[in-house]
């Protein structure tokens, strides 16, 4: 280690710091999942004293994921990673690029040699066979040191030394990409009713509006359901216009976004436009009945002054039970508020006690009238999210680097063998030594296997 290494350098290139930072990040994240964050914290805030509430808010306890604390921890971790790599990479690079020289009397940390002694007959062929055997698993260099000494050096998996740096480099790129996204990403949201066009989107986080250099029109919204009413798939066919001219169009589905003008558009949600019409029917005593088509907010009268009906809400899928309408029926004598489901008969069949337990779902609550909902129709609106995140490519790159780095670091092993074949008077002495950057017993096993294979080469000869 170089003399006079500053305290700063020592501190920031220590693995102890890495562990401490990782632990602190974990603690912060655990706190963030337990303490209600952002909108969810309203209830908790209300139960605290104003001073406590404002203090906690100022130290960002309720927005930990975007807090200065998390930012600082990741910044420190990045510095730590850079310093660690700066400190250790040169040695690893030398190991990766340097010459491996473990023979000629030096041990250099190689395993104790194993020997095979064979007859000297056909030494040329033996050498060739051993060479072929090693070539199967290693990249080989051959040196003829003269005087009947041949040295074979085999090697593989040098890249193992760099795996760790690929992982750490990848983490740095990931953190950088995430930071770029955190500072420079733009996310907006807009609802478009079928057939309508918009130019302005709401920016996420209440940052106001953004006027786009193009318009978006929802041509059509298509919804398919399963039998029980839950959505199966939904899709919006949208067109992008510039000065009234269609420049791009496509279908937007969940899991299948569209790209245009550097933004990505996502099918986020949907709903029913306020102008939905409900086809209601009602039946009372003495042949009193009627049919109306109404919208939310409208009122109509029951025959012979029996009452007035106000349509409070029209829902496309109330509690997964399908279309429903909420009515408020009043007369001088009684008042009732209740939901009328389109599939009431089916629902009642599956849940016979529904109206007893929840009178709110009883379409006959305003006696003696019973209401039926024959259908609702109207236009949907599609909820589209648009995002531009310049950090995404960095994050993707970082991810790939981390993945490849992990494979190299965990599953590739640097192995180095040195086989020395010495021609003696009547014998051929073959010595094997090996080295690995991992646990030595694996190299022992490897040498053992090689010895057995070399012995087997000459099993044919007597």
């Amino acid at each position: 280690m170089p003399e006079g290494r500053s305290v700063f350098k020592k501190f920031f290139s220590s693995v102890e710091l890495t562990i401490a930072l990782l632990v602190m990040i974990c603690v912060l994240l655990i706190m963030a999942t337990i303490i209600p964050q952002q909108e969810a914290s309203r209830e908790l805030l209300a139960s605290l004293t104003p001073q406590m509430a404002s203090f906690l808010k100022s130290i960002q306890v309720f927005d930990l994921y975007h807090s200065v604390w998390l930012f600082m921890l990741f910044a420190l971790l990045s510095v730590n990673l850079v310093c660690c790599s700066w400190d250790r990479l040169p040695a690893a690079w030398w190991r990766f690029r340097g010459r491996w020289d473990g023979w000629a009397g030096q041990d250099g940390g190689l395993n104790a040699p194993r020997e095979v002694v064979l007859s000297r007959i056909n030494s040329g062929a033996v050498t060739a066979d051993v060479k072929a055997l090693l070539e199967g698993g290693y990249r080989l260099t051959v040196e003829n040191e003269g005087d009947g000494v041949t040295v074979l050096r085999g090697e593989r998996g040098r890249i193992a030394h760099l795996g760790v740096y690929m992982v750490h480099g990848g983490v740095l790129v990931l953190v950088l990409g995430f930071a770029v996204g955190a500072f420079f990403a733009m996310e907006g949201y807009v609802n478009i009713v079928e057939g309508e066009t918009v130019r302005v989107v709401d920016l996420k986080g209440g940052h106001g509006f953004l006027e786009l250099p193009f318009s978006i029109r929802c041509e059509r919204f298509i919804l398919e359901r399963y039998e029980d009413g839950t959505p199966k798939t939904y899709r919006s066919d949208i067109t992008f216009l510039k000065d009234g001219v269609v420049v791009h169009q496509g279908a937007l589905l969940v899991n299948h976004p569209l790209s245009f003008a550097g933004y990505r558009f996502y099918q986020a949600s949907y709903g029913i436009a306020p102008d939905w019409r409900a086809d209601l029917e009602y039946r009372g005593d003495g042949g009193r009945k009627g049919k109306v088509t109404v919208s939310e907010g409208e009122t109509f009268y029951l025959p012979e002054g029996d009452g007035v009906v106000e349509v409070l809400r029209v829902e496309d899928n109330l509690m997964h039970m399908g279309p429903a309408v909420k009515l408020l029926v009043s007369s001088p004598k009684q008042e009732a508020s209740f939901w009328v489901f389109k599939d009431f008969e089916h629902i009642k069949a599956r849940k016979p006690l529904l109206t007893e337990t929840i009178p709110l779902f009883d379409p006959g609550l305003f006696k003696p009238y019973v209401f039926t909902l024959n259908g609702i129709n109207g236009r949907y609106y599609t909820g589209i999210q648009m995002i531009r995140d310049p950090g995404v490519s960095l994050v993707a790159l970082g991810g790939v680097m981390v993945f490849c780095g992990l494979i190299v670091a965990f599953f590739i092993v640097h192995r180095y063998v040195v086989v020395c074949i010495v021609e003696e008077e009547t014998m051929l002495r073959i010595s094997l030594k090996g080295w690995t950057n991992r646990r030595s017993f694996s190299m022992d096993k490897e040498l053992q296997t090689l010895v057995q294979k070399i012995k087997a080469l000459r099993e044919g000869d007597a």
Partner: protein, 273 residues
């Protein structure tokens, strides 16, 4: 049909566990062989059960891989534990770890069948889950969990290897620690891929590759805990107990990531299912 098969698998895993215990008590190696083959038989049947469930979902018109609700996740988790262990046991040449790993698999399967709140019905996929990323994301995450569970078994084994009936057959401390490391490395890679594929999926489905959803956050916490374990070897020369304890702590984090987050609101909540 598939739930029937899987219920049988639960019992087979329990039987295997009992035989592993007998191996410890009676010390006859043949018991180890029986226990291992019982577990293997269970694994094969388990695979069949999953395949049957997969096919059945197509028969009723809502075809998808059996990975979409709580029941299916428990069943697949158990499958990965036994699958990882089967490979490990062969390479380890020591069958004693079965006594700590098989009960985990059995308990997961038993929870799936016995808890009243868990529906084994094949349910349709909401639009957000209709993606090929579902399969790869869930599979890699659970393979990771499986490896971490075996590492956890190793951690427990390390702590009890000198206790009572376990002394005779347990592998030595160094071997166990090496096993824990290999399992943590494997789990780390799988969980890493799981997190990444989850992010890629989120990117295509919801526009954002990371939204600090409790499950996302906790999977990162788990991943970091194991990162600490992997680094601790270089720092404090942890060779024994420290590694075992961290393997156990990591598993606690895995379980919270898997189950605990359902108590917190968010995208991954199984509460609605």
């Amino acid at each position: 049909m598939d739930t029937l098969i899987l219920r049988w698998v639960t019992f087979i895993y329990f039987a295997s566990f009992i035989v592993y215990i007998s191996l410890m008590i009676f010390r006859r190696p043949v018991l180890g062989l029986i226990a291992a083959y019982t577990a293997l038989m269970g694994l094969v049947l388990h695979t069949v059960g999953l395949a049957v469930r997969w096919k059945e979902s197509y028969n009723i018109g809502i075809g998808h891989a059996p990975l979409s609700n709580f029941y299916e996740s428990l069943v697949f988790f158990a499958w990965s534990v036994v699958a990882v262990y089967a490979v490990v046991e062969r390479r380890l040449e020591n069958r004693s770890l079965g006594v700590v790993v098989m009960p985990a698999a059995f308990l997961l399967m038993a929870s799936a069948s016995l808890f009243p709140g868990i529906s084994s019905r094949i349910q349709p996929l909401v639009p957000a889950l209709q993606s090929n990323w579902l399969t790869i994301h869930v599979v890699t995450c659970f393979f990771g969990y499986g490896a971490f569970t075996v590492a956890f078994g190793g951690g427990i084994m390390y702590l009890i290897k000198n206790v009572g009936v376990f002394t005779h057959f347990s592998p030595d401390g160094e071997t166990i620690v090496e096993l824990i490391y290999r399992m943590v490395q494997l789990g780390f890679v799988f969980l890493g891929i799981g997190i990444m594929t989850g992010s890629v999926w989120a990117h295509f489905a919801w526009g954002s590759y990371w939204s600090w959803d409790p499950k996302e956050t906790w999977s990162l916490i788990t991943w970091s805990i194991y990162a600490v374990l992997l680094h601790a070897r270089y720092v404090w020369g942890w060779r024994g107990k420290g590694v075992a304890y961290m393997a156990i702590l990591g598993f606690a984090s895995v379980m919270f990531t898997y189950l605990g987050v359902n108590c917190l609101p968010g995208l991954h909540s199984y509460l609605k299912m």
